[in-house]
Symmetry: D3
Subunit: 130 residues, 6 copies
């Protein structure tokens, strides 16, 4: 009753198919992953999310691998199981090595620890950081 | 009554002074920032946290700038004001440009959005990501 | 060893049975859902939680459907799988359409994104909002 | 050094001015609030965020007041001070009464409480909710 | 416009005054702290929250100091500045020493770190823990 | 592809075996739990995490059971399923009774509720708490 249903390509509207086609062409994959099939239940969300993600994750001042590492850092902090799995796979495809992954999680863990220490000790911002 | 008090160098114990000296030497700064002065109220936490942070943030498979970007991503997601201010300053020192910062926050914002969409739509992990 | 066990009606104490009976009568359902069976392991928590929830979710200045939408928004942001599933079902019963659900998640996703942008850019509160 | 600077209309680029103009026209306000001035430091983020927000918060299956209530629910749960202040003001403009605000926060508080109870008791999803 | 206003005793309704009186008598304090004055804007929330808190924080299988330590742990993890300040003061009154506070924050920091490592490495629950 | 693999004792490096041996000896268990096997994929993280945890969770100004209760409070608030399961088991071994567990979760739930009320009502810190 609360369960969502994925939208598969064959039964998608032309509007949804166009987004799926652009995802597949941009990423060079034969099918879109579950995230896109599920949010396709609300076509405006599908179109807007893909449009934003395509722009944001493109090569720029930060390269795609760094962007994937940042995505994992957020997803781990938010405890989003799907997102950790999909972006870890994405980072692997973009060149993340085991050593990079180990260092990434070490930084994420440490940041979560020191964030709480700063809050618990009620540390005021240094004038030099303002 | 709940307010914490910073430990200043002149009144610190030799144990705390040694950690402060190592932070100053490692970073080439004349004084440690507030975070260290406040957690120095509990010397074991000061020593352990600095030891871990020094190891984790050192140059490795990921360079120090990328590590600072990851630190900001976590701190923004956790809404830690002190940490956002101090690590944004740290990332600037490590070479972060305005454009990099803009892209970093765009990725952080997007990841927080799609994390919630994945949870809300209850998206199951694709077999390919397992 | 850490696994919790649900309290079923037949083996419940009179105190727990009374709460279960009130939940069933209030909601017009033949049995209570797992949430109540699990927290019934601590009867004071069961009684207090049901008493509070019954008051808070009743029709008032906000109608029950709007309250269910707010419940989903919080549960998605906290990434509580059980709560997303149960309150999505609850909102459906209260009249939530597919279109409403799509718009709800779009707002939730967007709010999570702009919350992080406000924190990352360290935006000061406008005097007009104080 | 880590402090961000707002982009004021008079010194904005034509691209940024166009977004500011659309925000002012859409909302019927003489100036944009700080959020927009700060994210304008990264023009692509400004344009994309406004475009998305304008679409998402428009009247639809959910009316603008309900959407503002949902925005507050997320912002309170994420503890975003700026967002709570600005969206509480926004909801007031959209018709939120004191009584509605009181009920909104009661639901938000309760949802945060029961979310944690569901996690702590490790409650499995009922088959009826799948 | 979004700013809330505290309800002071002299101008409170009899219903609110009765709750304020009970808080003052239970805690042996001359006035209630800001939290109660602000939530008193919605009297049902004031009455329900105080009733629940009074029951939950009473001496039981866990003593009041341990309960205050748990309250701080949650408040630090949620980054609630007000709550960290007020419950740190509350724990001090209940007997928390500097050393206890240092150890508390060390555990809180560590738990936040290992929580993220467990999520990032996608660690499956051991059969022995089920 | 994103799935992590546990490091089993028989195939571990001497460096990892030494940490596993110390965990087993310290805890008096025949094997380490999954958390350690998974983070052992990055040996520096394994060594540092175990070293920190061993120090932090030792008997001190707070006893081990209280520390386990705090660990559960953080893990529930962060919604870390693995951590809730493993630390609930750990607290049971350290002497946590059903009644203690019920009171712990009641405090955790309440703290999460009042944290949000404090944020939503934008309660300023009382001068007495500074």
């Amino acid at each position: 009753m609360s369960q969502q249903k994925p939208v598969e390509y064959v039964s998608a509207t032309p509007e949804v198919k166009a987004v799926f086609d652009d995802i597949k062409a941009t990423r060079g994959v034969p099918d879109v992953n579950n995230f896109w099939k599920y949010i396709a239940q609300h076509p405006p969300t599908l179109a807007r999310t893909w449009g934003s993600l395509k722009d944001i994750m493109a090569d720029g001042a930060l390269d795609p691998l760094v962007k994937e590492l940042i995505y994992i850092a957020v997803s781990v902090t938010n405890n989003c199981g799907y997102c950790v799995a999909s972006h870890t796979a994405g980072a692997r495809r973009a060149g993340m090595t085991d050593e990079m992954f180990g260092e990434l999680l070490a930084v994420v863990g440490m940041a979560n620890e020191t964030n709480r220490l700063a809050v618990g000790y009620r540390v005021p911002v240094d004038p030099a950081f303002e």
